[in-house]
């Protein structure tokens, strides 16, 4: 198929976004650990609660959002910083939300696991599998209104065994909706490996159960994700119905911060850094003459500037009043 190979500009965007995500997570991780040493306690510090980092899964996010515009709806879950950033969610207000500030996307009501940006149609739920149906509904709305725009749901390979996945996939299939389901297969659901939870080795075979094409993307490679997603998005935009894509990726960190991954086979733990997609992609773009030392420095500076700005904004924003808790239950 044509038009599905990323251009140099698109590859550069993917690289820069991956790098931005990685640095963003590093800064979040640092901020998160404040007040949690020497004894880790997730209730403590200026950034309390759970924290699920995306390190290693950037290719899924950039290869997807390279094809999406603001009219496309994207529903994610507990591990969604990468997807949010790639989708273009306002970094200042997202960071403020993660820090629980009143200037945050949800005024501090949601926190890291509940990032909602209506302007970018970015949406999340922390309940496994439950982001599928709203995305199908968004696709239905687009279709009913004859509007452009598709809907995408991203879920983990562990989440695929939840009933909500099945129902939503069948609905998208039988109604031939402009919908795409992306499975980010990092091989683990907290401490449970895929083979212990899933009756098939690869989930894209499940597409056949819903009368839609399924693709498997190995290698955690942004270019290949770009290509597969591109085909699916073209089909969806052309009214040819939904697609299921499973992307093989890597969770470089534990399930959430504080998870020391004692359950990982030692060789898998030791092998993690080698699986990091960021240096691999950097090398590739260097080899393809797309990245140069100068450009890398420019990108790096641009990212740092953007992140400095976002974190400064967030930390300068006031905490909400306690009584603000009572607002927005109803609109």
């Amino acid at each position: 198929m044509e038009g599905l190979v990323p251009t140099a500009t698109q590859r550069l965007w993917m690289y820069e976004t991956m790098a931005k995500i990685r640095l963003y997570e590093a800064r979040i991780a640092e901020a998160y650990m404040e007040g949690k040493r020497p004894l880790f306690n997730m209730a403590k510090g200026p950034l309390p609660g759970e924290m699920h980092l995306c390190d290693g899964q950037e290719p899924c996010a950039v290869g997807l959002s390279a094809h999406l515009g603001p009219e496309d709806y994207l529903a994610c879950h507990h591990r969604s910083h990468a997807q949010a950033i790639a989708k273009g969610v306002d970094l200042r207000r997202m960071t403020a939300e993660i820090f629980g500030r009143s200037a945050g996307l949800s005024g501090g009501r949601g926190g890291h696991m509940h990032l909602f940006d209506f302007d970018k149609l970015f949406w999340t739920s922390g309940i496994i599998g439950q982001n599928m149906a709203p995305a199908v509904g968004a696709a239905l709305a687009r279709k009913l209104n004859g509007e452009s725009g598709i809907a995408v749901a991203c879920i983990g390979e562990g989440a695929v065994n939840q009933g909500g996945f099945h129902e939503a996939m069948n609905l998208a299939g039988v109604w031939k909706l402009p919908f795409l389901c992306i499975i980010e297969d990092n091989g683990w659901a907290v401490s449970v490996p895929k083979h212990a939870s899933t009756a098939v080795p690869e989930n894209h075979v499940r597409a056949a159960a819903y009368g839609m094409p399924g693709e498997h993307v190995p290698g955690n490679d942004p270019d290949r994700v770009f290509e597969a997603v591109g085909r699916a998005v073209m089909r969806a935009r052309a009214g040819e119905g939904p697609t299921l894509i499973e992307i093989q990726t890597t969770r470089l960190q534990g399930h959430f911060m504080g998870d020391t991954e004692g359950y990982l086979p030692p060789d898998e733990l030791a092998g993690k850094p080698a699986l990091d997609p960021l240096p691999h992609y950097r090398e590739r773009l260097r080899g393809d003459g797309i990245l140069s030392p100068d450009l890398e420095a420019t990108i790096d500076a641009r990212i740092r500037h953007e992140l400095d700005d976002a974190f400064e904004f967030a930390l300068a924003a006031p905490e909400p009043e306690g009584s603000a808790a009572l607002e927005t239950l109803f609109v």
């Binding site: 709806y73 529903a75 996307l105 949800s106 005024g107 009501r109 949601g110 509940h114 909602f116 940006d117 209506f118 149609l121 949406w123 739920s125 309940i127 439950q130 599928m132 149906a133 709203p134 995305a135 199908v136 509904g137 968004a138 696709a139 239905l140 709305a141 687009r142 009913l144 209104n145 809907a151 009933g163 909500g164 129902e167 939503a168 069948n170 609905l171 039988v174 927005t328 239950l329 109803f330 609109v331």
Partner: protein, 350 residues
């Protein structure tokens, strides 16, 4: 029960008696005509017009895009309604029996009900969930429940329950126009379906044109001095019957039709009990942590001066048995309301 009709300033018109089913049907059709964003999804709502008769004729008038039969996938289509509502549509979805909430509660209580809150009001969920409630016709443990409190306990849904056709049309019109998710419950025994008996007093005069009955406002359907009887849906009719009988025994009961479970018109209840000094709440839902208990607690915590203890007549904390003698034993009815109310007034039950 007709006070609201007469007050609706639609005098000199010819009476038009409708069942609740027809009133609901009319409200949906009118709102669909007025607003292209309104559409309906659910099991068997297309060709057969809904097993509860709400959607008759809609498929023909509006087509299969806006009147969508679904697979038996409540999680998917209620969740899909949230996604569509978030993008500006105004879906009406049907959960065929409230008893099925267990297969799709996350879509209801996390996706729909919390959408506004944790998006700070940005992802609105203007949708209506229609659902059938109630027993009394031997449908056994998995098709007879009311579950008012199951939904009222969890924040983020408005919940209404009409006792008659006038309120049904007006409440549903309000619900469809509301920017928040509204759970619209209808009691099977009031619905007016061909295949089930219907309490006659639920069939009332209904104006042709669209009108709203505000959500959150109870209706004093019978003023009285001696005891407040609080009911909703089917129990309103039982309370009215009991009030009639009580009056022949010299007891003047005030009857409140809650109409709305969330928001609950606590003021109307408290005002009434302040006047009568006695209250019996009649609730066909389970007793424990139920709506009746909530209403008693509301009055009790205000320290309203009382002439008798606050009481409730509820469905007990057992599943609904199939066999008629057992089910009828468990359900509230006018006889038992009369008995309990007399106890309150005479002090016999103390």
């Amino acid at each position: 029960m007709n006070s609201s009709v007469t007050s609706a300033s639609r005098r000199n018109r010819v009476e038009r008696k409708l069942t609740i089913a027809k009133a609901i049907n009319e409200a949906i059709a009118q709102e669909m005509r007025a607003d292209p964003r309104v559409f309906v999804m659910g099991e068997d709502i297309g060709a057969i017009g809904g097993i509860w008769g709400h959607t008759g004729g809609l498929l023909d008038e509006f087509g299969a895009d806006r009147v969508r039969d679904t697979p038996i996938s409540e999680t998917a289509f209620i969740g899909a309604a949230v996604g569509a509502a978030n993008l500006g549509m105004r879906p009406i979805v049907e959960l065929m029996f409230v008893d099925f909430f267990g297969v799709c509660m996350d879509a209801i209580y996390n996706l729909a009900a919390k959408s506004s809150y944790h998006s700070n009001g940005r992802f609105k969920a203007p949708m209506v969930i229609l659902t059938a409630i109630g027993g009394g016709y031997s449908d056994s443990t998995q098709h007879s429940q009311c579950l008012y409190a199951t939904f009222a306990h969890l924040p983020g849904l408005k919940i209404v329950l009409p006792s008659n056709a006038y309120d049904a049309k007006g409440l549903l019109t309000s619900a469809i126009r509301d920017d928040n998710p509204v759970l619209f419950m209808f009691h099977k025994n009031l619905q007016g379906m061909g295949f089930l008996g219907t309490v006659k007093t639920a069939i009332t005069d209904v104006p042709d044109d669209g009108y709203e009955v505000p959500i959150g406002v109870a209706n004093i359907v019978r003023p009285g001095r001696d005891v407040t009887l609080v009911g909703l849906g089917a129990t309103v009719h039982q309370a009215m019957e009991a009030a009639g009988r009580l009056s022949r025994q010299g007891v003047d009961a005030e009857v409140i039709d809650l109409r709305s479970i969330v928001p609950l018109d606590r003021n109307a209840i408290v005002r009434s009990v302040t006047k009568t000094g006695r209250m019996l709440v009649i609730d066909d839902d389970y007793r424990n942590c139920g709506l009746a208990g909530e209403i008693i607690a509301t009055v009790a915590e205000l320290g309203v001066p009382l002439r008798a203890p606050l009481r409730r007549l509820t469905y007990p904390d057992i599943p609904t048995p199939f066999a008629r003698p057992m089910e009828q034993f468990a359900l509230p009815n006018a006889d038992r309301i009369v008995e309990e109310a007399l106890n309150l007034v005479t002090g016999a039950g103390k």
